[in-house]
């Protein structure tokens, strides 16, 4: 009996001991390495181990064999096997051993060759960690519950909380929140399916990250661990990693409290670089340009308005009257863009970028030039959600370069994606809508927007919830004209579409009151002509751009037919064209910082199955 107890005791002690020891180990394959080479390699591995988060080391409890190999393309740094092996390029061993790698510059953000090797080890280990399904307890329970539910009800019956959580296969890279932040947002109307191409391409430390979510997670882990300014560059992703690991590297830069943006206002006296302080943003409004009778404008246009308090004013309802401080976030092709041509919008001819404009300019644009009213409805967001949305908007402003599709990726879809990725409000997760006015209705139905502010039109105009179109005023002016002159037209629009010469012939007959009305209408005609001219310049510029990209009215690939404007084929084209555009972009950029650039360029093969990183 005593013997049995002793055995049991010994067994328990052993179990405890092995549990305590269970953690990641990197073992250097020393075969064929000289003692100095071993020493230098071991120092690199030790440094990598010291850089990793404690949770990472603890959870990934396996031994990984690290070796040097010459079976690797010349420009590659390293590669990990699926489970427990990591190979580094033998070409780099000499410079690591003699120390020259520590000073040899690479012209990439990591700086030196040695730093790059360290980043490679961390990158490849992250791939292994990502594949190991090391979810925290709560997340694992959620994934299991959602997968079970999906088996029973299918995607249609899944609650919003489960969207994207069922049948997950990776620790990080298929997490819906990560995909939102990284730039693979939900495709509208497809129950959580993700867009195939990442369009957050304009300011990437390593464009390789946009090839797939797997690479995105690994590349960003390098910077999370090694770049003290990562928290300032990509604050939301920094917080994501920090929350996951419950840890962040101790050495961190101090970030500025405001976000810089390019001031797209037409007041050139203002400095071109503006700053938004999220602490001064009182509310975020859904800003809807109401529909008019143009085909493209029939559904309205969605934007977001930042209600910013004047400096020194405490956050509160008074800030709504600081109109000169307010900014508008609007997805459009160019600064003063007015989207007139529906066909081009349908087939994705327009670029789509996030502009930050002064509110007064947007009001003028819509009410005076396009003759559309604007409704501004406050969104019910928490303080944190407002801060995060402003932060995300700043990031998108600098990094996003998308394509506008009239049906599948229009302003409503873009604004929804911005709100969803920015605020992470769970109410927005399952929200799908492709029309601007429809989106407002759904936001209202979910209790996220309060449209009651619009009920009393007079009061709404007084308090800046509604900005009325100048159409009624122009029509009133036109009625004055008709009273005094025998003009055939009955609607002001018909009058404005006459040529300048046709309008001119009435001038001499006009009395004082009629001339005053004429002056206002002439101003409106002038604005309309400028708008048309702007649109023509845009079409010409984009036409030239298409020509340059080899897309001039022809099919870029056999599958990218341009002939039928159906929704389904539009989606096919979007994917095709995005790929073509990306390929062209990669060709154009001599990517000094892209380790993978050479092979990516030569083959145009962007499938993850091809040689995985470096």
């Amino acid at each position: 009996m005593r013997r049995l107890v002793a055995w049991l005791l010994a067994g328990t002690v052993l179990l405890c001991a092995s549990a305590a020891q269970a953690s990641l180990q990197l073992r250097l394959k020393t075969d064929g390495l000289s003692p100095t080479e071993q020493q230098a390699s071991q120092a690199l591995l030790d440094e990598a181990m010291r850089s990793l988060p404690p949770r990472f080391v603890e959870q990934l409890d396996r031994r990984i064999d690290v070796g040097w190999t010459d079976k690797m393309p010349e420009n590659a740094y390293g590669q990990a096997s699926l489970v427990s092996e990591l190979d580094l390029n033998r070409n780099l061993l000499d410079s690591l051993t003699d120390g020259s790698a520590a000073t040899q510059k690479t012209n990439r953000p990591h700086g030196t060759v040695r730093r790059e090797m360290l980043a490679t080890v961390l990158h490849e280990l992250t791939h292994i960690y990502d594949r190991a399904r090391l979810w925290p307890k709560d997340e694992r329970a959620l994934i299991q519950r959602c997968s079970r539910q999906n088996n029973i009800t299918g995607l249609i019956g899944l609650p919003d909380q489960c969207r994207g959580q069922n049948d997950r296969r990776f620790t990080l890279s298929d997490d819906p929140r990560l995909l939102d932040l990284a730039g693979w947002p939900q495709y509208v109307g497809r129950r959580g399916e993700r867009e195939q191409h990442n369009r957050q391409v304009a300011r990437s430390p390593d464009i390789y990250e946009t090839t797939s979510p797997l690479e995105f997670v690994a590349v960003n882990m390098e910077y999370f661990l090694l770049d003290p300014s990562y928290a300032c560059r990509r604050p939301a992703l920094f917080r994501y990693y920090k929350d996951h690991f419950g840890w962040a590297p101790p050495e961190q830069d101090t970030c500025a409290k405001t976000y810089a943006f390019l001031n797209a206002g037409n007041d050139f006296a203002k400095t071109p670089l503006g700053h938004v302080d999220p602490e001064r943003v009182y509310e975020i409004d859904y800003l809807l340009a109401e529909a008019n009778q143009n085909l493209v404008s029939r559904w309205g246009h969605s934007m977001l308005r930042l209600v910013i308090c004047a400096p020194g004013r405490p956050r509160g309802p008074d800030c709504r009257l600081d109109l000169d401080q307010h900014l508008v976030l609007s997805y459009r092709a160019f600064v003063g863009d007015v989207q007139l041509s529906s066909w081009d919008g349908l087939v994705g001819k327009y670029p789509s970028r996030l502009f930050v404009l002064p509110l007064a300019q947007v009001i003028d644009e819509y009410t005076k030039t396009e003759l559309r009213g604007l409704a501004s409805v406050p969104l019910k967001l928490s303080r944190q959600e407002i801060n995060d949305t402003v932060e995300h908007a700043a990031e998108m402003h600098w990094s996003y370069d998308g394509n506008y599709y009239f049906l599948s990726n229009n302003c409503a879809v873009e604004s929804l994606k911005l709100l969803r990725s920015g605020s992470a409000n769970p109410q927005l997760t399952g929200l799908d809508n492709i029309t601007p006015n429809g989106l407002l209705e759904v936001l209202q139905a979910r209790g996220l927007a309060d449209t009651s502010v619009l009920n009393d039109k007079r009061e709404a105009m007084r308090l800046g919830y509604h900005f009325d179109s100048f159409r009624e005023r122009y029509q009133a002016m036109f009625d004055v004209l008709r009273k005094h002159l025998p003009i055939k037209q009955t609607q002001v629009e018909d009058w404005l579409s006459l040529s300048a010469e046709e309008r001119h012939q009435w001038f001499d007959q006009a009395d004082l009151r009629t001339s005053a009305a004429l002056l206002l209408l002439e101003q409106a005609s002038f604005r309309k002509q400028l708008m048309l001219a702007q649109d023509e310049v845009k079409q010409r510029y984009l036409g030239a751009r298409e020509l340059k990209n080899g897309r001039h009215g022809e099919t870029p690939t056999p599958h990218c037919s341009r002939s039928s404007p159906t929704v389904a084929s539009s989606a096919v084209r979007q994917n095709c064209w995005a790929a073509v555009a990306m390929a062209c972009r990669n060709h154009r950029k001599p990517s000094a910082w892209n380790r993978k650039a050479l092979s990516a360029r030569s083959s145009c093969n962007r499938s993850p199955a091809s040689w995985i990183k470096r």
């Binding site: 040529s499 300048a500 010469e501 309008r503 001119h504 001038f507 001499d508 006009a510 009395d511 004082l512 001339s515 005053a516 004429l518 002056l519 002439e522 101003q523 005609s525 002038f526 002509q529 400028l530 048309l532 001219a533 023509e536 310049v537 010409r540």
Partner: protein
């Protein structure tokens, strides 16, 4: 900037500007004739 426009559009914009100028002058003339207030 005007050079970027189609000739017809550029001409229409120029005509609009001329219209604006002319209506403005016409209005001022009528205003003055009616004895309206004039700012120095």
């Amino acid at each position: 900037m005007r050079a970027l426009l189609e000739p017809s559009r550029a001409a229409e914009i120029a005509a609009c500007e001329a219209n604006l100028k002319q209506v403005g002058e016409h209005l001022r003339k009528l205003h003055k004739a009616a004895g309206g207030l004039e700012l120095p």
